[in-house]
């Protein structure tokens, strides 16, 4: 809908100050890769970008530079059908960068990339953002989003669960103290100790997860010792984005 592919049936929206009812006014300043990279298999990566550059009225002189920027400088002349999934993904990102966009929309940009490629894409997106490009990433990989995002819109079943700064979201979450004992029986005792002290606690993945400030870990350790439990792990930490998502949606 944001890219003018689907007609809105109601509501309003703006991109770069223009209504989404007139995508032709903002799309020349928007780069996008959605639903995975789609190109002509019989054309080379470079020629595929030339087609899109010609179509959008951009100079084809930029194409080789973009291929090098995404690590495809050496394979630009190979046909698209010979590319690996990661190479296709890189070409999709290069195509999205063709208009030198003010807004970049990427759907699962690290899909199919090797760990090195993922690092490179993260660095590329960060440098684009630092240079003033708004980078809009949609992904199911919450750990990935946690690493690259400044702002977050969290959706569940089509409804907005959270919108705002990533730091605000994480700071609003209760810290968690993760504790492990020697046996299953110890976990039940630890759970009881935490609950008696007025903290919400659950047993998950072979450990007790207690909501409470990091400072309470000292009291918790002492109480466990007094109860005859030797802790094998006691870790105060902030919940990650995935845990926060489940906490907010109540799914787990």
């Amino acid at each position: 809908m944001l890219l003018g592919l689907i007609t809105p049936t109601g509501g309003t929206g703006e991109i770069l100050g223009e209504s989404i009812k007139h995508p032709e006014r903002y799309l020349p300043r928007v780069g996008a890769m959605i639903e995975g990279p789609a190109f002509y298999p019989a054309l080379s990566g470079k020629e595929n970008l030339n087609v899109l550059a010609t179509l959008g009225g951009f100079s084809t002189d930029r194409v080789q530079g973009l291929l090098e920027q995404v690590g495809l400088g050496e394979r630009g002349k190979s046909k698209f059908k010979t590319y690996s999934l990661g190479m296709k993904q890189r070409l999709g990102i290069a195509a999205a960068l063709l208009p030198n966009p003010k807004l970049l929309m990427l759907d699962e940009p690290t899909n199919g990339l090797d760990p090195e490629g993922i690092q490179e894409v993260r660095a590329l997106l960060r440098s684009l953002a630092n240079d003033g490009t708004s980078v809009f990433v949609s992904s199911h990989l919450l750990s990935e989003l946690e690493l690259i995002s400044d702002y977050l819109v969290m959706l569940r079943k089509g409804e907005v669960v959270f919108t705002g700064k990533m730091t605000d979201l994480m700071l609003s979450q209760q810290p968690v103290i993760i504790a492990k004992g020697a046996s299953e029986n110890d976990l039940i005792k630890l759970l009881a100790i935490a609950e008696q002290a007025g903290h919400h606690a659950t047993i998950r993945d072979g450990a007790v997860h207690v909501q409470g400030p990091a400072e309470w870990a000292l009291d918790f350790n002492r109480a466990a010792f007094n109860a005859g439990i030797t802790l094998s792990q006691l870790t105060p930490q902030l919940p990650n984005l995935e845990e926060t998502f489940f906490e907010m949606t109540g799914d787990k």
Binding site: G4, L5, L43, V51, L52, G56
Partner: protein
């Protein structure tokens, strides 16, 4: 629109498509024209569907373009396949999304693609004309056919008229292919349906009732290529103006419906 046309030309010039198509055009143009002269004395005929085109006909001012006229319908089939494939592949590859993001004006996309494919078809037609007339010139002396009138004023007029008629016909066939590509959104389905209809269904219908030939789209477009006289053992003549009108209506209605759907339809995948 021109940006779309130039972008489309980049796709159309890829070697396998361009040289493959032009190779087929050269081969069949040479074949159709050669058979006219090589089989000139054959009792089974020397033209399409067993028609006999004798020395006296080939010696006329229009004799030099007989082969070109015969291959016109075949060029139409090639154009239908190319137009259908180039249009429908945008759906199957998912590249339509890219096109619409870079050029949100959907009618501009259609017009640009159409212009580029017309240019491609024009190259096909020029090449076919050169090969078929060239083959006729080379083979005519051996078949004892006079070429004296072929390049006189009347002959040049015949070449020009045939070129225009074949061009209109080929563009018509191509537009039908594009319409099928837009409606069916699959190259295989679009080409299969188009070729099946033109080569089999229409012939069966005409065999059942000869008068239907005057109202079927493929017959009108073929009649335009041959200047208004459709050929074949079961056919009657179709007037050029009638073929132009009915064929034009088919193409215009199909193009309007397909364009409307293309502009209005959401692109969700």
């Amino acid at each position: 629109m021109w940006n779309v046309a130039f972008a489309e030309l980049r796709k159309l010039r890829r070697p396998t498509l361009f040289f493959g198509t032009m190779g087929a055009v050269v081969f069949f143009s040479a074949l159709f024209s050669s058979l006219l002269f090589i089989l000139i004395d054959s009792p089974q005929g020397n033209s399409d569907r067993g028609r006999v085109v004798g020395r006296e006909v080939l010696g006329l001012a229009t004799g030099g373009v007989q082969g070109f006229t015969s291959v016109g319908g075949f060029l139409g089939i090639i154009a239908l396949c190319v137009f259908a494939a180039q249009t429908a592949q945008e759906y199957t590859y998912g590249t339509l999304r890219n096109l619409l993001v870079r050029q949100p004006g959907r009618l501009r996309i259609l017009l640009g693609k159409f212009v580029a494919m017309k240019l491609f078809a024009l190259v096909m037609i020029v090449l076919s004309a050169i090969v078929s007339i060239g083959a006729s010139v080379i083979l005519a002396p051996g078949a004892e056919v006079s070429t004296d009138l072929w390049f006189g004023a009347d002959g040049r007029h015949a070449i020009f008229t045939t070129f225009v008629n074949v061009t209109i016909s080929v563009i018509g066939f191509g537009t039908v292919g594009m319409v099928l590509g837009l409606l069916l959104r699959s190259p295989i389905s679009a080409i299969s349906l188009g070729v099946l209809w033109l080569l089999i269904v229409e012939n069966l219908l005409v065999a059942v009732k000869n008068s239907w030939q005057s109202w079927l789209p493929g017959s009108q477009l073929s009649a335009i290529a041959s200047g208004g006289s459709a050929s074949g053992p079961v056919s009657g003549a179709i007037e050029y103006s009638h073929a132009l009108l009915i064929g034009g209506i088919y193409v215009a209605v199909g193009a309007t419906i397909a364009s409307f759907l293309f502009v209005r339809r959401d692109v969700a995948n």
